[in-house]
């Protein structure tokens, strides 16, 4: 096995070159990672030169390092946001004490679990997206997909760094297991449900990056509040990359909507079948995809009543979104929060202890953020003079986790019976026919500056490149 040149190959600000124990752990793990990338990473891309952004340092200047790179040679780095001097714990039972630079024994198992759960999503999404490269609507989109893939890979590295550096043998074993689970595998699946779903087409991909990567934003924000300082600083830096992933999703859907609106206005029709004939995705189909991805994503926040969430918060392991900007006592012993419950066949609000409802708090913050995104998409229809508006389904719709699991709730929040669900399921969730139609539009566009018929070109190129820039060279 060849030794790794640490400062060259793995840009880092964790003094990797001076940490022999960490080097040994990574020397063992890195070849397995590359092996995993070759097997489960983007399919058939080994030789592509891709115009990628590599983070080479954490300061603003180290961000925009753009160059053509073969993905297996991508420099997966390890970065922690700069340390705040004398950072104090700012929530939970340890409020006011200095933040931990090492893992306290009593929180070891919980912290490891949090890090493993986060870390597991990173390779999972790469696995989910590995076939999409074959059907990209443009070189620009193909490049964005690959950028997301390598950055999810870097996020895996970030979590593996924490496991190796702070969790000894257990950590190393967990790091190995991150490369052994497989998205959608019946015997050894990824930990969280949404990460075992398929991402079969680009509409699903944009929905996934818009909603599921936004879940990532909220989870990372909550972890960036952690009393365990290395975790807080790692996730803080990851957030900057997560932003690009959300951008790809939000802008991707915007561009699809824009193209559909154009064709609707050209043909003066809102008839889905005529629009499908014209080769664009009708707005109701987009709404049905949206419903599915939104519901799957809000399941990721976990059960609405959770004693784990209370433990994590009390121990200072995981805060709320924008914890430091909230005006309460940051201990929440007496705080309550409105949660939804079933009573007499209806959904009603009731007060619950906030500590137990922290998953719901984070979920609601996510939903608020998502509403803003829907508003921005709707402005495209507004501008085009088209009356159709997208909407988020009710948060009890199509849930698999929490107290609404397996209840039948319509997108408008009405509790319904099985018969009504069966009668309308195809109106609310993408049907096999919808998916087959969207799949029929997918065909790889490889000419620079060209875009598939069902999606508008982006408003801006990457790194101010010309519109017909060749982002990916296939060699």
């Amino acid at each position: 096995m060849e030794a790794i040149n640490y400062s060259e190959k793995i840009p880092n600000n964790v003094n990797l070159a001076g940490d022999r124990a960490l080097q040994r752990a990574l020397e063992h793990w890195q070849p397995n990672f590359l092996q995993w990338w070759a097997e489960m990473g983007p399919e058939g891309t080994r030789n592509f030169d891709v115009y990628l952004r590599t983070a080479v340092s954490v300061d603003p200047g180290g961000w925009a390092h753009f160059d053509f790179v073969k993905m297996p040679d991508y420099r997966w780095g390890i970065f922690l946001a700069p340390a705040a001097s004398e950072r104090k714990i700012h929530f939970g039972e340890h409020l006011g004490e200095p933040a931990w630079q090492d893992v306290p024994g009593e929180h070891r198992a919980n912290l490891r679990r949090i890090i493993v759960t986060q870390g597991d999503t990173e390779p999972a999404s790469i696995e989910q997206q590995r076939h999409l490269g074959l059907t990209a609507p443009s070189l620009y989109d193909l490049r964005n997909l690959f950028q997301i893939n390598v950055e999810e890979g870097r996020h895996l590295w970030a979590m593996v760094y924490l496991l190796h550096r702070y969790f000894g043998r257990d950590g190393r074993e967990e790091a190995d297991a991150l490369l052994q689970r497989r998205s959608g595998d019946t015997d050894n699946p990824r930990i969280l449900g949404a990460f075992n779903e398929k991402t079969p087409d680009w509409l699903a991909f944009y929905m996934f990056t818009h909603f599921t990567d936004r879940d990532g934003k909220f989870q990372l924000c909550a972890l960036a509040e952690s009393s365990f300082d290395p975790l807080a600083r790692t996730t803080k830096f990851m957030l900057t990359e997560e932003a690009h992933h959300m951008f790809v999703g939000e802008a991707g859907i915007s561009r699809i909507l824009q193209r559909t609106c154009e064709v609707m206005n050209e043909l003066h029709t809102d008839d889905p079948s005529r629009l499908r004939e014209a080769g664009v995705i009708d707005l109701p189909t987009i709404q049905r995809y949206l419903n599915f991805h939104f519901a799957v994503t809000i399941d990721l926040f976990g059960a609405d009543q959770s004693s784990n969430a209370a433990t994590f918060y009390g121990a200072g392991l995981k805060g709320r979104f924008d914890e430091s900007k909230r005006g309460d006592d940051h201990r929440l012993h007496d705080a309550t929060y409105k949660v939804l419950d079933m009573a007499e066949g209806k959904l009603v609000e009731r007060d619950a202890p906030m500590l137990n409802a922290l998953n719901e708090v984070l979920r609601d913050d996510f939903i608020k953020d998502s509403v803003g995104g829907i508003g921005r998409w709707n402005r495209i229809m507004e501008k085009a003079g088209i009356p159709f508006r997208l909407a988020l389904p009710h948060k009890a719709f199509n849930r698999k986790i929490g107290s609404f699991a397996n209840m039948r709730v319509a997108p408008d929040g009405r509790v319904i019976d099985e018969a009504e669900w069966a009668a309308h399921e195809r109106d609310w969730l993408a049907s096999p026919e919808d998916r087959a139609f969207v799949a029929s539009l997918m065909g790889g566009i490889k000419a620079p500056g060209r875009y598939a018929n069902w999606i508008a070109p982006p408003a801006m190129a990457i790194n101010k490149q010309p519109a017909d820039f060749e982002y990916v060279r296939f060699n």
Binding site: D59, P60, G61, W63, A64, H65, K217, K236, L239, T240, E242, A243, H244, M246, F247, E250, A251, K368, D369, G372, G373, R376, R379, A459, M460, K464
Partner: protein, 409 residues
């Protein structure tokens, strides 16, 4: 960030395009002075706080952050206004005011050129007061070409020229390190006037020919773009082809930061490639003309080019006394020799470079293509590390003291 213009009326206001922004919070997180804030609708920049540091530009995933409007300072868009937008307002007509101020294009180029050092740095404390923007797009100065000489050898792959412009009876006072804008005549293929191009002055303040009202420019004929595609640079080809006696529209001068110190004993550490040598030549020539004053202070130059025949001012440079300037030349394309870049020489001369960096009387200037920035930075970082110094903590203090100046394009 908001580049404040030199007269008070006009502001180049930094805004965020609400149509492109995805509200990811990265800019707010990045901003070192907390100038960015948001509500549930928009992310906005406070014009009273933003200080033109550029830190938010590259982390933005969408490009929405890179939006600018030239506004009258008194009526800059308030936070409340920005929060209410669904789209950016159109550029309002501030031409009447702008005519007396830095053109938008110049402000943009300047901001980009100094981005690598994190925004415009302070000028040295002893720099002379610069005049800026005496001549505007609306009222350019008309200069006459009094010289146009090739600086590169016949075998060179590029054509670099030394062009002398005479302003006659029109005042156009410049300091070493300042730039001026050339307005190529005519319009582009879409009928719009050509953009202004900025050139660093290559002559000292008292003129290329002392006590005459003239300046020299170092102009490379542009025949390909950054990616190597053939393209004829509009302004450079226009300038390189000018005959003696032709007239040129010139605006400026510009630049209040990349200026040389004037106090006795001040040293200069200069690093440049290609036509980035223009300001270095101006400063060196200023000091050469004052050798007799025995003011002290050392000059150290790192100068890179493909080959000796492509190094502007190679001949005159080699004739300068060794005890006047310590010249280090790096050539990257000499057949049979390994490629050498300025950063390699900085490493070789690490001890002396660090001595200069540690000397409060030494001022550092870097000028050349954008691509040299990172290499030079890395080299500084390395030589500092070898002397148990941390470049990343040193750099901000150098900038603050007006001791570090970078201009790349």
């Amino acid at each position: 960030m908001t580049a404040e213009s030199t007269t008070v009326q006009v502001l180049r206001q930094h805004l965020i395009d609400p149509e492109i922004c995805i509200r990811c919070n990265t800019c707010e997180e990045t901003c070192p002075v907390d100038a960015i804030t948001h509500d549930s609708r928009n992310y906005v920049v406070d014009p009273a706080i933003c200080n033109a540091c550029n830190a938010c530009i590259s982390p933005c995933p969408t490009g929405a952050i890179d939006s600018w409007r030239q506004v009258e300072r008194a009526s800059a868009y308030s936070l409340a206004e920005q929060l209410s937008w669904d789209t950016l307002p159109a550029q309002e007509d501030v031409e009447a005011v702008a005519a007396a101020d830095i053109p938008l294009e110049i402000a943009r180029i300047t901001a980009e050129a100094s981005a690598g050092q994190g925004g415009v740095a302070a000028a040295p404390w002893s720099a002379a007061h610069p005049y800026v923007n005496l001549h505007t797009l609306a009222k350019p100065a008309v200069a006459t070409v009094t010289g146009n000489h090739p600086l590169t050898g016949s075998g060179a792959s590029s054509d670099i020229r030394h062009i002398v412009l005479d302003f006659g009876a029109v005042a156009f006072p410049v300091l070493e390190g300042q730039t001026l804008g050339i307005v190529p005549p005519g319009t582009d293929s879409q009928g719009r006037p050509h953009y202004v191009r900025l050139y660093s002055v290559a002559s000292p303040r008292d003129g290329e020919r002392p006590r005459y009202n003239n300046v020299a420019l170092t102009v490379k004929r542009v025949t390909e773009d950054h990616t190597g595609q053939p393209v004829a640079g509009v302004a450079s080809n226009y300038l390189c082809d000018l005959d003696k006696g032709a007239t040129v529209n010139v605006i400026g001068p510009f630049g209040t930061s990349f200026l040389m110190p004037n106090h006795p004993g001040a040293s200069l550490l200069m690093i440049c490639t290609g036509t980035g040598s223009a300001p270095m030549r101006a400063m060196t020539e200023r000091r050469r003309r004052r050798i007799a004053d025995k003011e002290g202070g050392a000059l150290m130059l790192f100068f890179g080019a493909r080959a000796p025949e492509e190094l502007p001012y190679f001949g005159p440079l080699m004739k300068l006394p060794r005890d006047f300037i310590d010249v280090n030349l790096a050539f990257s394309r000499v057949p049979g020799q390994p490629k050498q870049y300025v950063q390699d020489l900085i490493r070789i001369r690490g001890d002396d470079v660090v001595r200069h960096l540690n000397d409060d009387e030494c001022y550092v200037y870097v000028c050349g293509l954008k691509s040299m920035e990172e290499g030079v930075n890395e080299a500084f970082r390395d030589v500092c590390r070898q002397h148990d110094l941390d470049w990343d903590t040193m750099l901000p203090s150098l900038r603050e003291k007006g001791r570090y100046h970078l201009e790349t394009y």
